[in-house]
């Protein structure tokens, strides 16, 4: 699991692309897009240990 920066100078551009992908969508449509994206990224990563660790870490962090 990589938690240090792995995007280098492309971070801002990729974040902007992510926001663009959501442009014009309703909140429900955005959640659906996010769900599809997570499923696709999971397949792209293709490593069960990493995916399990990522799921656990994302759940661990509370934003409230």
């Amino acid at each position: 699991m990589i938690l240090d920066d792995n995007l280098g100078s492309q971070g801002d551009s990729l974040y902007a692309q992510l926001m663009q992908a959501h442009e014009g969508l309703s909140t429900a449509q955005s959640h659906a897009l996010n769900a599809r994206l997570v499923l696709m990224m999971m397949n792209e990563i293709g490593n069960a240990d990493i995916i399990t660790a990522l799921l656990k870490e994302a759940r661990n962090i509370s934003s409230d």
Binding site: I2, L3, D12, A16, T27, S30, I61, S62, S63
Partner: protein, 514 residues
């Protein structure tokens, strides 16, 4: 102590009573960009007349964040050390989400550079130093306050200007006309040039306060940035220090606010108290603004040249307004001087090529920061808040938080004046300790060959031997030579002392055909 806005004297210009000889360059606007332009031209031996409708420095601190590259250009213009001595160099930045600190970072300056990443200094000091430097160069710079340009006509081989003064109107002519009047550029409006881009709806409030002691936990200057601060519901806020114990507070107000009622003491004082606590303070200046990101398509219109905010405007995040304008000056000064001395006018087209690219890059970066800081939908807010939540623990998310990416010089690689494909070609000079001083003090202002090894390099151009130190090796390597333009950008690299190749690169970099 409040800055003393002493007016500069108005002197009746000769054009009121007699016809003035044609000036090589008329610069419209004596802000930081116009003044820097006049100094740069003077240092290249070109005379200019600088016309300003006003007679004081900038009212209010306005542009306060001067980046390393700008400081290096100021060094060449003769005010770098003064700006550095007076300015505030901060090291610790803290980022908060709500009441909680997400993380802090230590911005230690990298060793082996004369100037730090940036300093904070009020625009009025920078303008004062530039005016004083211009006065030292009074054989070249004719500075005219209360001279308002009301009309101009490009006659093909010169520009005619009509100017209003307290003593009435007069006219003068100049070979070239440089518009450095700021975002509202009357020249741009007179020419009816499209100025297109994105307008942001959020209002921002800037307040300068003088405090009796530091609002931070230590006396060291810090920079505190809040997303959704507890004292200012749902918005963002920034607090940082300027010289003279003046602190800048930036508050995002939202789109629905009325600027007139927000910029009142009644509204502002409770907000300041919420940030700094219960201490006495003096309100020095405040301003409410909305901004947009826009640029001219063309900066060069025959004999009329646009620099700084006249040519392009950006959001303030990343400090790319003033810094971008100074880079315009740096890029244009030596080219305009060369054209006036007989170089092909096509050299001015490369100002358009290089700075239009640079300003588009600045607009892109500052728009992204604005978008991060002012999420437009629930989902954008969600992503931003979860980035902040992750950032408390994970470094990768800290890199995604965007409250402004500090102005960096753009690379000019692949553009017309550069030769070869060494990775450093196109980049701005990287500073180094050199002798008792610094590389930036010695390698700017004229074409210079920086030599790394003891091969016998030709003397077709001024050369400077770089030291055989580890820091130089890491920044430039150990063999060959780099050709540096007068604005400090690297335009060619040579492995061997090939005189023909060096001459060809030099010809190309000065607008000739290699």
């Amino acid at each position: 102590m409040a800055y003393d806005y002493a007016p500069f004297p108005y002197v009746a210009p000769p054009g009121l009573t007699t016809s003035e000889p044609r000036h090589p360059v008329a610069i419209v606007g004596a802000g930081p960009i116009g003044l820097a332009m006049a100094i740069d031209l003077a240092q290249h031996g070109i005379k200019s007349v600088v016309l300003d409708d006003n007679n004081v420095v900038s009212i209010g601190s306005r542009a306060i964040c001067w980046a390393k590259r700008t400081l290096e250009i100021f060094d060449r213009l003769g005010i770098g050390s003064r700006v550095l001595d007076k300015g505030v160099t901060w090291k610790v930045g803290r980022l908060f989400h709500g009441a909680d600190e997400v993380y802090s970072f230590d911005l230690l300056p990298e060793a082996g550079h004369k100037y730090p990443a940036f300093i904070n200094l009020q625009q009025y000091y920078v303008e004062q130093y530039l005016v004083e430097r211009s006065q030292e160069l009074s054989d070249w710079i004719d500075l005219r306050f209360l001279n308002k340009v009301t009309d101009h006509r490009d006659h093909g081989d010169h520009v005619a200007l009509t100017i209003e003064t307290p003593d009435g109107p007069y006219t003068l002519e100049a070979d070239y006309y440089v518009a450095a009047e700021g975002a509202g550029s009357p020249t741009r409006k007179r020419m009816d040039l499209p100025f297109e881009g994105q307008t942001f709806e959020e209002h921002f409030l800037i307040v300068d306060v003088e405090l009796p002691h530091s609002p931070f936990e230590t006396e060291d200057p810090e920079r505190w940035f809040w997303f959704a601060p507890p004292f200012h519901q749902g918005q963002s806020a920034l607090l940082h220090k300027q010289p003279d114990n003046i602190y800048r507070i930036d508050l995002q107000l939202g789109a629905e606010t009325d600027p007139k009622t927000e910029a009142t003491e009644e509204k502002v004082i409770p907000r300041i108290k919420a940030i700094i606590g219960d201490m006495d303070f003096r309100l020095d200046w405040m301003s409410v603004y909305k901004f947009r990101c826009a640029k001219l398509d063309q900066f060069v219109h025959n004999r009329v040249l646009f620099v700084g905010d006249s040519a392009h405007v950006v959001s303030p995040f990343g400090a790319r307004g003033g810094n971008g304008g100074i880079q315009d000056v740096d890029n244009l000064g030596w080219k305009l001087a060369a054209v006036l001395n007989g170089a092909p006018t096509s050299l001015l087209d490369t100002y358009q090529q290089e700075r239009s690219f640079g300003s588009a890059e600045n607009i892109l970066n500052s728009s992204r920061a604005t978008n991060f800081m002012t999420p437009k939908s629930d989902i954008e807010t969600l992503f931003r808040n979860e980035t902040l939540a992750l950032a408390a623990k994970h470094p990768f998310a800290r890199k995604l938080i965007n409250s402004g990416r500090l102005s960096q010089p753009c690379t000019l690689a692949g553009m017309d004046l550069q030769s070869g494909d060494h990775p450093l070609v196109g980049q701005a000079l990287i500073d180094l300790p050199l002798g008792n001083g610094w590389l930036v003090e010695q390698a700017q202002g004229q074409f210079t060959l920086l030599t790394l090894d003891s091969q016998s390099w030709p003397d077709t151009v001024a050369s400077l031997a770089l030291p055989h130190t580890p820091v130089c090796g890491a920044r430039y390597g150990t063999t060959g030579a780099f050709l540096i333009r007068p604005d400090g950008h690297i335009c060619a690299y040579f492995e061997t002392p090939d005189t023909a190749a060096i001459t060809a690169a030099l010809t190309r970099a000065t607008g000739g055909h290699a």
